[in-house]
Amino acid sequence: MTLAHGATPPAGPPAGPPAVPPPPVPDAGTPSWRLLATLGGAGALAGLLLVTAWEWTTPTITANRARVEQAAVAEVLREPARVDTLYLENGALTRTPRGDAAKLERAYQGFDHAGVRVGVAIRGAEPGFSDVITVLIGFDPTTSQLLGMKVLGQKETPGLGDKIEKDSGFVGQFSEARAPLRAVKARGGQDPTEVATITGATISSRTVIRIINHAVERWQPLLTRFDREPGQ
């Protein structure tokens, strides 16, 4: 089956002229050029409609996605004055990727009004209780101090596992904690590496903690190397 078979004779809209042939109503069926023409015409029409709609909606869709991403980054970096984007290309971070930036993983650096870096926002994702949990983490790569955490995507049990996203007590802990984190039933003292899990959602909570540890472990060396490089 060929789509948009524009090459076949009348690939125009609903095949105006070829509409005449129907009268020959033999049992043999319709000639195959007419079948192709119909499919080609339908394909061309479909393509035209879709391209128009795509041209029309893409700017809005891209803007929406960017806005959601920016809001999340601002949240985990505690409203920085300025944010710039780093791309992970060929195992190193860069501000100006050579390839297609849309396909690269990103880290967002947040700066305060004085131009001092407050932290970096990175993504992490791993399987939780029912499906993959995606998390955005704000942290300071030099001290491993966390600034904030936001769950971007999860399909955990409503009322239990989904507290990792909604329970302010749980989420709030990540703005004072320091990686590597340890999961505990209840926080005893002031140890900043301890994070209390949610009762009834231990696996989901532990998954969030593990995602953060893995993400920090992975991005910290990259960021350190990026900081040391001259000219960046």
Binding site: V51, G128, I203
Partner: protein, 193 residues
């Protein structure tokens, strides 16, 4: 990487079973589960088509769709329909015995949401080639499992005294609900902590 592949397979088969938790492939689940052997064969035919779909979807995503993302749904559905057609013809030619066993189910597969669902989920999650294969096998096994379980239960239900009002779809849906509940017990399998 291998852990990843195993998790994808287990997740698609049990934790996020296509039929019982994502409601994909309900037409055969309700329509073709009056006999166990039939259900099993349909399941196997599905695994085959799912595999081919995963490979084609990967190919489309990799080489064609980046240039024309708006053709995604159309190209998937066309590829699925053609794949099923080609598979049907190939089986008919190669093994008439197998065709008699599977053939009549193949056209049914085209309108099965599980197949298009696989292609779309695979795309949304950005699976690579091996991940896609693993996903297709897991989804296919999960579908086969659900179909076979349902058929085994329905064979017994047919012989029991179901209240007149519940006969037909109502009782089947309530059974499906219990099966789905049982599958919820698999949650957490993928989490190692």
């Amino acid at each position: 990487m291998t852990g990843d592949l195993v998790w994808i397979l287990v997740s698609a088969m049990l934790v996020n079973n296509f039929t019982l938790t994502l409601f994909l492939g309900l037409c055969p689940f309700f329509g073709v589960t009056s006999q166990v052997t039939t259900a099993l064969r349909l399941g196997l035919a599905n695994i085959f088509v799912l595999l081919l779909t995963a490979i084609s979807a990967w190919f489309l995503n990799r080489y064609i769709l980046p240039a024309a993302p708006f053709l995604r749904i159309i190209s998937f559905i066309i590829v699925i329909a053609s794949t099923v057609q080609v598979v049907e013809m190939a089986i008919k030619k190669a093994s008439p015995v197998l065709f008699r066993a599977l053939g009549i189910y193949l056209p049914l597969i085209t309108t099965n949401c599980a197949i298009l669902g696989l292609a779309i989920f695979q795309t949304n999650r950005g699976y690579g080639f091996l991940q896609g294969i693993s996903f297709a096998i897991g989804a296919g096994l999960g579908l086969t499992l659900a179909l076979t379980l349902m058929a085994s239960i329905r064979v017994r239900v047919d012989r029991s005294n179901v209240p007149a009002l519940a006969r037909g779809m109502a009782i089947v849906l309530i059974i499906a609900s219990s099966l789905s509940l049982a599958f919820m017990g698999f949650a957490g399998l993928g989490s190692s902590s």
